[in-house]
Symmetry: C2
Subunit: 348 residues, 2 copies
């Protein structure tokens, strides 16, 4: 679509107003954060318990401009992901995703139960043509200040080689389109750099990726994620999720070590308190929050998923990212990438 | 064996004097580090190129007390692990392991090619009765100052459920015997705490571990490694190795971030230089070096493997650890743990 000369249509984003730990207050505040940046280019629709949402809206100016769609039920963090479509049709999660399916909105944003958002979106909207399995990517800070995109971080375990192949191509599209990296490098997470290393699935994926129409640089190791050696790191959701949670725990670990050091003497305590702002500045970018949500890739629709504890700022960033994904047609590009004629033959 | 009333025999440890990046200088220096601590309780035998070793020995006092066994060949980091037994019988690695096999020494220590040490030890000495697959464990620092033992960290990929079961029991023995934890807790690394999570292999291992004669606490997640939730974390070597390398890269990542911060202004630079000693003190224990090698568990012999860049201090610690493993009969305890009569029936 080349519509650059005419005014772009407003992008419509539904927010699961009941998703996060501080819903709907943070979701409402996040809406205004996003609109400050987006202005007229987007319309935001809050989905959830109307009374609760309206009560929060009243705290803000111009709240009459925000549309609210009522949904009486709320999906919790402990709810079984696969059961939402069957039994929870009144939930804000289902209603929001269904609006996207019916074309009433272009994107959906939630800080709710990740597994439930993923399962519901996939079941209701289906996959992009050519995608074997949708995936969730996440961003890791690096020594170079440019994040590494790791796919998959927990959507699927026991990924078949073909799934890993698709994660690679979807990650490459996202990195190129959304992170503005002109020709992203892609590495396969492994226990050594040499070809032939790793599990059976990974070795098969290596062979497939060598022929892929991307800048595949071969195997990368655990250390390459933070060093920023490559733009996209491909792995099964089992190790991806374990590494993500390990990485998220590093800040807490450092805090505990600094605290332990501070407790040794008054002088130690003073030193650490002086050092705190420095530490905060240095560690910025290691926090999941800063990235404001991660994309669910491969689903027929634009979905951004956030941490339950997402701040209003993070929620605002999630909406902004969703709008960009629509405007830059990430899904159209994924469909084209996975429909390479010379590739479709050779892939099992 | 209860020989507490009589003098214990000297423990004989062979060092692969050609193993590390600074061999044989660091290996020789490490020998004297170890002897400072061990005194008469151990004899250390340096295995490798005699002329090179003697030249290093001359720099030290009382060097005439150290035995040297000549081996003309040196295994490099790039050498194929499985080929050592066939084609490299003159190497310090093979000669040292073979001395252990023949009962001339009780333990073997190397900072050389990890895969080669593992393969050669297993092929030459065989496995402890009842062990399906030898494993390498590694120590991670925690918020509580008590390390977490993670097994496996790269010895085996695509581990069968039975292998994971054995890693758990061997890790439990090591934690109890060597880290002096009276009743160590053991967790299975997974993507969620609930039973039924994870890959097929992990789900089967869960069912087996529930019946194991250990304090199995169920699934743990990536964040539990650094938080020190459990004493032993069990996983396949694929994710174990990736996490180990990821963790090792955290210090370099932090250094790069601090450097970036320091480069922003003169004041920033001064601040960072003032806090360098603090940072060093706080990060102590995050460095692989500090643990001085990791045990190869399940082999019929005591083997400690170190990082190629191991310092003399680390090499000395490796020898000390090897002596303790012999004295505390870790292998005998592993054999008994894996020979639980009520278990041997139910395990596939």
């Amino acid at each position: 679509m080349s519509a650059s000369s005419q005014a772009s249509p407003r992008v419509r984003v539904a927010i699961d107003a009941m998703g996060g730990d501080y819903a709907p207050a943070y979701e409402v505040a996040g809406t205004f954060e996003a609109l400050k940046h987006l202005g007229e280019s987007a319309e935001i629709i809050l989905v959830g318990r109307e009374d609760d949402i309206r009560r929060e809206l009243e705290r803000h100016n111009k709240s009459e401009l925000i549309r609210v769609v009522h949904a009486s039920d709320v999906v919790g963090m402990a709810d079984e992901p696969s059961a939402i479509v069957k039994n929870r049709k009144e939930s804000s999660l289902y209603v929001g995703v269904d609006m996207m399916k019916r074309g009433e909105v272009d994107a959906f944003v939630s800080a709710g139960n990740t597994g439930a958002v993923m399962a519901t979106s996939t079941m209701v909207c289906g996959r992009i043509s050519g995608v074997s399995r949708p995936t969730i990517g996440s961003f890791f800070p690096t020594a170079t200040n440019k994040p590494t995109l790791v796919v998959d971080v927990g959507a699927n375990v026991d990924s078949k080689p073909r799934f890993l192949y698709d994660y690679a191509l979807m990650g490459e599209v996202y990195s190129r389109t959304m992170l503005n990296i002109s020709s992203p490098t892609v590495g396969l997470l492994n226990v050594g750099e040499e070809e032939g290393k790793g599990t059976e699935n990974v070795r098969e994926a290596y062979a497939m990726l060598r022929k892929a129409p991307i800048r595949f640089v071969g195997n990368v190791e655990g250390r390459d994620i933070l060093s920023g050696t490559v733009d996209v790191v491909v792995c099964d959701g089992f190790e991806g999720n374990i590494i993500l949670k390990f990485a998220e725990s590093v800040i807490g670990f450092l805090r505990a070590r600094f605290k332990l050091f501070a407790s040794r003497s008054v002088a130690h305590g003073i030193t650490i308190s002086l050092f705190k702002p420095v530490l905060r500045a240095v560690l910025r970018g290691m926090d999941y929050q800063d990235y404001g949500g991660v994309p669910l890739l491969g689903v027929n629709g634009v979905v951004i998923i956030g941490h339950g504890a997402s701040t209003p700022k993070a929620l605002g960033n999630m909406v902004i990212r969703a709008v960009e994904m629509v405007q830059r047609d990430v899904n159209g590009q994924i469909e084209r990438a996975l429909k390479q004629p010379e590739e479709s033959q050779s892939i099992r």
